[in-house]
Symmetry: C2
Subunit: 203 residues, 2 copies
Amino acid sequence: MQTEPQGVSTKDTEAGVGTRERVVRAASRLLQRQGYEGTGIKLIAREAEATLGSVYHFFPGGKEELAVAAIRHGDREFADMLGAGLDSSDDPAVAVENCARRLATALRASGWTDGCPITATALETLGRTPRIQEACGAALRNWQEVLAVKFRDCGFGGEEADDLACTVLAALEGAEMTAQVFRSEQPLLTAGRHMAQLIRSRS
Amino acid sequence: MQTEPQGVSTKDTEAGVGTRERVVRAASRLLQRQGYEGTGIKLIAREAEATLGSVYHFFPGGKEELAVAAIRHGDREFADMLGAGLDSSDDPAVAVENCARRLATALRASGWTDGCPITATALETLGRTPRIQEACGAALRNWQEVLAVKFRDCGFGGEEADDLACTVLAALEGAEMTAQVFRSEQPLLTAGRHMAQLIRSRS
DNA sequence: CCACCACTAGAACGATCGCTCTATCAAGTG
DNA sequence: CACTTGATAGAGCGATCGTTCTAGTGGTGG
């Protein structure tokens, strides 16, 4: 049973959230910022205001199982942000550009630390931790699908929608990384503008 | 003094190369594959067939100084590959698409492990290791400049060339990461095709 | 010949890693 | 009430981390 009160409030970042959920959120944020190897389980527990015992109670598979859960969490979160951005306009070009703008704004607001939730972990564990790699692949596929659905809804053919989704997501990922390193919104905004142009030239 | 013979051969991956250079190469390859925190100095030394003493002799600043040197090495290497790809055609659109193709081929040949030499390290150390972040920023700027020069030579205006270079590099980076996770050349090839189209629509 | 120096070699240190283990606590359930 | 079960708590394990330190090697200039 949770020790903390359960129904008190649904405040997003604080108590009132079950221990397991707090641990997953902390893990997701830390993996996003410092990658898999750079994030210790003890730090995750401390950040989540949980104890090591609780972490291993919920994730008997240890760090790897926790990382998979954290990546799935980041997957859902990023998909929501992508979906919300895409809903901002019926024109797919405008919608994608708005997405890039939102990512840029959020990135600046975080002090340039919170970019894509999975890239760092994905690159670090490539080919050496299959379960994590699968979770990362599922996330990328999911985000591509969110984009592809939008493009299909806007009249693109199935294959063309998939290809466009692949490139747009890749450009946003790369631009976000560039923006983080340069501490500037410009790469994301430029990529958004170019992706809008690419979409228009194809419709 | 180096124990090994110096002028014997310039074979790229083996002996005949100074200890310092061997260490930098090993560090660069390992940082590329498993990031900064995931790569131990002792492993770098073993992989370079050097000893810990030698590593700290050449890099008294420790892991951080070695990482900076490794990133600069990856910078030069990737810039060369980019330049070689761009030289393959006078048409900038064709040249960029060839670049993507080459990256895809090289990536597959490495067993999907050797992507961008700095992304993993850059994301892991963002905002926590300024000297490494600077080296990563310099690399990205350098690669953008390689692309921008090509675009300017092909008749693009200065600002437009810079913007295109920024987006093309971001798309290639993102597509390479996607290709690694999916173990498929397709994301890189698709991004190359789309970037070619974007360039053509702007000229 | 020898003092010097660049380099090699690796033992050892404290800190931290992921993980295991036992003990305790708080609520149900009979 | 006793007993079970889910969850919390953290000490402690062996391994590895980055780093420091001393010792040794071999070629070179004086």
